[in-house]
Structures are given as C-alpha cells and as structure tokens.
C-alpha cells in the first residue's frame, strides 16, 4: 500500500510540474499547446472536486460533531440488538444523517469507532447515499412517482441490508476494518477518550475540537477523493462513451454497460437521476435502474474512500456483492416486468 502511495505522490509531483510549466509559458505568452485531453481532464477533475469537496466537508463535520457530542454508550443503547433490525436501521439512518456518498464514509467510520456493529454500519454506508430526502426528491423530480423511483429506493435498501447482513457473520468489526479505523485515538489528543467517553469542556472547546477533527479527517479522506476523481476524469477524457453505449441493448448487456458507466462516471447521487434520463429512450429500464442503484454504492471515488476505512478484502466483497445483486435484480426486471 505504501509503495502505491509513493508512486501516487510521484504522479502528484508530475502533475504539479506540468501545471507549473503551463502556467509559466502562459504567463510569458509562449505557445506550447498541450493535447486538448489534458484540458478536458483538468476541467472534469476540478468539476468533480469542487462539487464533492463541500459534501465531504459536511461529512467530516458531522463526524467531528458525533465524536464530541455522542457518548459511546448512548449509541450502543439505541442500536438494535437483532442483526436484521440493525441492518434495517442502518439502511434507514440516511433520513437522520442526510449525507451523500462522499460524506457518508467518514461518518460511518466515526460510528464504527463509537461502537456501531458491522451489519448496521455497512448497511448505512451503502444505503444512505440513496435513502435520504435530498436524493429521493431529485429522483422524484426526474422520474415522478413511477416504478423507477420506488424500485430505486426498494432495491437500494434491500441490497444494502443484505450486504450488511452478510457482514454480520463477522462478530468482530475489527476484522473488517483497517486497524486505524477502530482505534479510539485516531487523532492526536483523542486518547483522552479512553478515560472519558465524551470530550470534556465547554461548548466552545468542544466545537473547536470537532472542527480540528473535521480538518484532520478531510486530509485523510480528501486524498482518496482526489485520486478517485483524477481516475474518473482521466477515463472520461480518453474512453469513448459512444463505443461503450453501442455495446449493449440486450437485457443483460445493457445492465453491464450501465453499471460500468456508473462506476466510471462517479457522479454524485444527488444528481445521477437527471444524468440517467439521457439513457431512458435507448436503454432498458432495468439497466437505468442498475445505474441508479449501483452508482451510489460503488464507483471509483467511493472504492478509494472505502479503502481508507475497511481492509482490502472487505472492500472487495463490498464491491462484488452489490454488483452481483444489482445484476440479478435488474436483469430479472428486464426479463419479467414489462416496464
């Protein structure tokens, strides 16, 4: 892992160098013109970053506030004992914390640290980017009260709960998570929490503490957001979507193509409904649904963010299980429901 990061920082330095050269030549009025793909890449990358960074910030702020205001015991008391109820509650928790797919990752990790079980945590992580008021509203705006809206909600909840339940086999969250995700002293100074379950002090000092946690967490998560958006932008700048879309119109192939597109595009779940409308005429309803259900659970930037919280093996399952379930459900819809 460390070697990967060293390579990545070299990539980072290279990008920095290119940017500097560009700036200088532009400033001196020189005439080197980089390939247009570079500008397309930069615009798409900055677009994703500018759009996603505030959402990630909100997630880290929520995480900081949970850290300083919630007692570990109080969360464990509210949490259902029964695994199925736990997973179901996790799947519906998005209505309490309306965070989207970037913000949900730091918040979930914080809730794990506060003692949330694996089933509930994973279900929350997977479901809340769809099962929250904002996303349901935007899907409604795009599709109205139709099968697409309720199937999206129902499938997302079912798949998230099922994935959560599969992880419930593991009693010890520690075996799913990266060691650093569970330590109670994730950040310098937080070791005090071992003795005091909740951060002591005045409201002001608690808020200050929450902000400093949010800042640290932004650095932890932000780098994955950046690498993920760079990958997505690079793929968008070079992979022709037309050839991809031309691949499939059959009940199975169309689903696979749309899932691949969802993973590549890495669009925020708050607007993906509008984006998917462009495919409605030419693609099967099942495949449009697969785009809407899988995208918020699994895409390039999400996978990288997950890697910061979970062990690599866990992330592998967190990708494969939803992919398989989405294929099963949406191909079934394509073949059996004439919608």
């Amino acid at each position: 892992m460390k070697r990967v990061f060293n390579t990545l920082s070299i990539v980072g330095l290279a990008v920095l160098g290119v940017a500097l050269v560009l700036f200088l030549q532009n400033w001196m009025g020189g005439g080197i013109e980089l390939p247009s793909q570079f500008y397309t890449f930069t615009t798409i990358f900055l677009g994703i970053f500018i759009e996603a960074a505030p959402f990630l910030l909100l997630g880290t702020l929520a995480s900081g506030l949970v850290e300083v205001f919630f007692k570990k015991e109080s969360i464990q008391r509210i949490m259902p004992r029964n695994r199925f109820l736990g997973a179901l509650a996790g799947g519906l928790l998005g209505f309490v914390f309306p965070v989207c797919e970037c913000g949900v990752v730091p918040l979930t990790r914080r809730l794990f640290r506060k003692g949330m079980g694996p089933a509930m945590g994973v279900a929350f992580l997977m479901a809340s980017p769809v099962l929250n008021p904002i996303v349901i509203l935007s899907t409604y705006a795009a599709y109205g009260w139709g099968p697409v809206l309720w199937l999206r909600v129902a499938l997302s909840l079912a798949i998230a709960v099922a994935t959560g339940l599969i992880f419930a086999v593991e009693e010890q969250p520690a075996r799913l998570l990266r060691p650093s995700s569970l330590s109670l002293a994730p950040i310098r100074g937080a070791s005090v929490d071992v003795a005091l379950p909740i951060y002591p002090g005045s409201l002001g000092s608690r808020l200050r503490r929450a902000l400093s946690i949010a800042g640290e967490e932004f650095f932890e998560m932000g780098r994955y957001l950046i690498i993920g958006s760079m990958l997505a932008a690079a793929l968008q700048a070079v992979v022709p979507q037309g050839t991809l879309l031309a691949l499939g119109s059959g009940p199975l192939l169309s689903v696979l193509v749309m899932m691949l597109l969802a993973v590549l595009l890495s669009i925020c779940s708050t607007v993906d409904a509008f984006v998917s409308l462009a495919f409605v005429g030419t693609f099967t309803t099942g495949s449009v649904l697969s785009f809407l259900v899988l995208g918020p659970m699994v895409d390039i930037k999400n996978i990288l963010l997950y890697l910061q919280v979970f062990r690599r093996r866990t992330v592998l399952y967190m990708v494969i299980l939803p992919v398989l379930m989405v294929i099963l459900a949406t191909v079934f819809i394509n073949l059996n429901l004439g919608i």
């Binding site: 940017a19 000092s205 669009i267």
Partner: protein
C-alpha cells in the same frame, strides 16, 4: 516532518483550498466546472475550509495540552508528506492551468446526444412556452424531442449561441452548433447540438463560439429528428460567461 511543520502545512493547504474556491467564484470561471445552482455550496465549502484552516493552525494554548502526551504514540504513517502533496494537486491544477470549459474536443469521447429528456413528467411543456427566438440550443433540442411532429417548428426564427463542431456525419455545407448541458458538474456534461446550414460552413474552425441567426427546419441525424438552422448570419463571439446550459 515535525508535528508543527505538518500542522502549519495542513493549515496552509486548507487556506489554499478556500482561496481556490473563492478565486473560481470571483474570477467567474466557476461555471466552467459546475452547474450555477450549486454556487451556494461552493461558497459554503470555501467558508468551511477557511474555518478549518484557522483551527488547524498549531497553537500553544492550554487546550492543546494533551497534544504533548500523544507525541510518543507514533503516528508516523500519517505524518508523511505524500497526503499533503496529493491535496496540492487541485490547487496546482486550479491556480496554474488556464481555465477552459469543455469544448468540442471532449466530444471525441462523449459524443453528441440527440435525446435531451429532462423529465419523464409533463412539466417541460411549460418551459417550451417561450418565444422561439429566445430558445437556446437545449430548448430547441427538447422542443424537438417532445413534439409529436417537429414540423410545427419549421420556419420559426432561431437565435442561438454555441461552439462549432464539424461533425463527420454531416454533409458539406453543414456544421453543428453545440453546447454542453451540465446537471451537476463537468463530469456529467452531455453535448447537444443543432445543425447549421450555410455556404460558409467549412470556414468555421472547431471550438469557435458563434452566434447563429436563421430559420428552423427539420433535419435528421442517425434517424432522429433534429433542428436545423438555415443560417442568415453567423457571427464570431467570445465564450459566454456561462458556457454550459443548465437543464
């Protein structure tokens, strides 16, 4: 890297990110990246970055006392420089690379769609109820998508702005005047266009922004009815402040 240096660098980067967002807003290039509807979110992000920068700055105060008993915990992995280097990438690209909106070269991978459905519901009918010479490229494409028979639009005056795209599918004497429609950010941009018919079609270089005036006719591209403008005038214009259309 010492703890203090690390914290100072973190604060500096957070400040830089705040400055980057406000720079994009103030220089008017924010709309090269996102839908204007989300401007408030970027303002909020910039403000939060600023606040975080302020609280990330190392301070010698009583409230930080427990920072010290932590130094021997050894979080060496999180104190290395590479995460900071990666956080500098958006800063470098944002401040140093000249801002450019997506242009026709992005069409090589994105293609141009003739289907611009924005809602399955019926609310679009209201949006289409506007004088024909005030419709932009997106309005026209939508109007054609929703019309039972787009022939009703034939002869109406059109007055649109867009970039030139020399589509290889078109015969001589025609080019496309295109726009990108962005719902959220540039990652979800899709291109739409109208055909322009003019004797000087081949004079126009790809990516040149033009203002086209003329009369609408129905043409077909890949079997779909698309609007065609028989040009009466084509004028060169500079990139509009909002290069994308917001569905």
């Amino acid at each position: 890297m010492s703890e203090r240096t690390h914290k100072i660098l973190q604060a500096a980067i957070l400040f830089g990110l705040s400055a980057f967002l406000f720079y994009k807003i103030l220089s008017g290039t924010l709309y090269f990246y996102i839908n204007a509807r989300f401007t408030w979110l970027v303002v909020l992000g910039g403000a939060v970055f600023l606040a975080l920068a302020f609280f990330a700055w190392p301070r010698k105060s009583a409230s930080d006392a427990h920072d010290h008993d932590h130094d021997d915990h050894g979080h060496a992995h999180s104190r290395s420089a590479w995460p900071l280097a990666i956080l500098c990438i958006p800063l470098a690209l944002g401040f140093l690379v000249p801002s450019r909106p997506l242009d026709s070269s992005a069409l090589d991978t994105r293609g141009l769609t003739t289907n611009a459905l924005m809602s399955i519901g019926g609310q679009t009918a209201v949006q289409l109820d506007q004088p024909s010479d005030q419709r932009n490229v997106l309005d026209w494409v939508r109007a054609f998508n929703f019309a039972a028979d787009p022939v009703i639009y034939e002869g109406e005056p059109a007055d649109v702005i867009g970039f030139v795209y020399q589509d290889p599918r078109l015969p001589e004497g025609q080019f496309l005047v295109g726009r990108f429609a962005v719902s959220c950010c540039a990652a979800d941009a899709f291109a739409i266009g109208m055909i322009v018919q003019s004797d000087e079609a081949h004079h126009w270089a790809a990516n040149q922004w033009v203002h086209v005036n003329g009369k609408v006719q129905v043409s077909h591209l890949d079997g779909v009815a698309v609007p065609l403008i028989v040009a009466e005038s084509i004028k060169e214009v500079s990139i509009p402040p909002q290069p994308y259309l917001f569905p």
